[in-house]
């Protein structure tokens, strides 16, 4: 009888190991989550939503819940290199109400670990508001041009790379920051309000 028990025990452990390994990528059984919108819902059964889609559809909902200070703090923590979203959310000292609202947003994601499963780089892209996260760098532009020129059997003329880098640097100088955009909007709104009042 003891041998039978040992056999059952070993068998159960082997079966459970197989179940665990397959469950890592499997969908949660019986999960009933409302989808954010039809776009995200459609992707549940196909490909996971891209960072850009998540950023445009989920991030605004998160930002609506957080105060501007908390949003900035969250962005700063992510940019510092913190990869654990638990620690990131803990660092911004959320109220109970905010936690419940955030939990609802997280529940509505197509997969329950959509955010947690992002790579550190994807997390940075998702939470950072700065355009640079999506803007190609001078190096990446040069690389792409070189690759396409190579395919055509030609090479990039000398000095072109330097010109691209210089132009990009100039463009960065004139690129408005979120703060300056915010200030300009506020100033515009104030002017409109003053004009209306008069």
């Amino acid at each position: 009888m003891e041998r039978l028990f040992i056999l059952i025990l070993v068998g159960l452990i082997a079966v459970s190991n197989l179940m665990i390994s397959s469950s890592v990528n499997a969908q949660m059984l019986g999960a009933t989550t409302a989808t954010l919108n039809s776009t995200l819902a459609d992707q549940t059964n196909s490909n996971p939503p891209s960072i850009q889609q998540l950023k445009t559809q989920v991030l605004p909902k998160i930002e609506k819940i957080l105060t501007s200070e908390q949003s900035q703090q969250l962005e700063a923590t992510i940019l510092k290199g913190e990869t654990s979203l638990r620690k990131v959310f803990k660092s911004i000292t959320l109220s109970h109400d905010q936690k419940f609202k955030l939990a609802t947003v997280l529940k509505s994601l197509p997969k329950r670990d959509t955010l947690a499963a992002l790579t550190p780089e994807e997390k940075k892209q998702f939470f950072t508001k700065k355009k640079e996260a999506f803007m190609p760098t001078a190096e990446s532009i040069n690389e792409k041009i070189s690759a396409s020129m190579k395919m055509k059997g030609t090479t990039l003329p000398e000095g072109v790379s330097a010109k691209i880098s210089a132009k990009m640097k100039n463009a960065e100088q004139f690129m408005p920051t979120p703060e300056t955009i915010g200030e300009k909007i506020n100033a515009g709104m104030k002017m409109m309000q003053d004009a209306m009042a008069e």
Binding site: S16, S23, R86, L94, K99, L102
Partner: protein, 262 residues
């Protein structure tokens, strides 16, 4: 201790593993690991030290967190129902003349497998302490495993010299401190009586059984903290599962041997 090795006989690993010191150390290491890792990942919930959840429920109630209060309070009936079922299983095993210790260790191993599956599946989505839909099932699975271990210590008559809890260390630390005082009093006494000598000898013997249990729990907790610091995933639960499985196999082997001798 039921398993007593004859002097001069060959070393038996299974016999050693289910001896008071080794089994106590392994079981308390498992409890320390499970309790600490669950406490960290589940935002403060006890799976081994279940009554601690009463205090946590009180704290949640004061901060008007109904969901958290209910989750913590639900750990108590879960624990009691599991202990009742484990006790029935122990009675059945005893009736069938199986090794109660081995059977209950098997039950704990199965419960740890379930805990591992639920924990690794749901914990990645657990980012906030209000996500009770994830906290509750994971915590219940952990409490079931630890309730079996609690019942196992009481039901496995004859395996251990005396009952030493492996899931809560408060009583053990109290006893260890009292014994330490007894031994030191005897050592420092200028004219020790025969009674105090006897008392000190008993205390020293008890300390030999309590120290591995307390050390095991502390090391288990430390190991869990290190593993979770390295990675927030809960795959590290495979370690307590392996420990209990090895102990269960040792218990079956040892029972088989003693049955063959009888």
């Amino acid at each position: 201790m039921t398993v007593v090795s004859d002097k001069g006989s060959n070393f038996s690993l299974s016999e050693f593993l289910i001896s008071d010191g080794a089994a106590g150390f392994i079981l308390s290491w498992v409890a320390g690991f499970v309790d600490t890792s669950a406490f960290i990942i589940l935002f403060g919930i006890f799976t081994a030290h279940v009554t601690g959840n009463i205090a946590l429920a009180g704290a949640s109630f004061v901060s008007s967190d109904e969901g958290s209060t209910v989750t913590r309070l639900l750990m108590l009936p879960t624990f009691m129902v599991t202990v009742a079922l484990t006790s029935l299983l122990a009675r059945y095993a005893r009736q069938k003349q199986w090794s109660v210790f081995a059977v209950l260790l098997t039950a704990e191993a199965i419960a740890l497998v379930v805990f591992l599956i639920i924990g690794t599946t749901l914990s990645p989505a657990l980012l906030l302490d209000v996500q009770e839909e994830y906290i509750l099932p994971i915590a219940m699975a952990g409490v079931v495993a630890m309730a079996i271990q609690n019942a196992l210590m009481k039901e496995s008559h004859g395996v251990f010299k005396s009952y030493i809890p492996t899931t809560v260390m408060t009583g053990n630390t109290t006893q260890l401190t009292i014994d330490l005082v007894k031994v030191l009093s005897f050592k420092l006494s200028r004219s020790p009586s025969e009674a105090s000598q006897q008392e000190a000898a008993e205390a020293l013997e008890r300390m030999g059984r309590f120290v591995p249990v307390i050390a095991g729990f502390a090391l288990g907790g430390a190991a869990a903290a290190v593993f979770i610091l390295m990675s927030e995933t809960w795959w590290s639960l495979i370690l307590p599962l392996m420990a209990i499985t090895i102990l269960a196999i040792a218990a079956y082997v040892q029972h088989g041997r003693s049955s063959a001798v009888a």
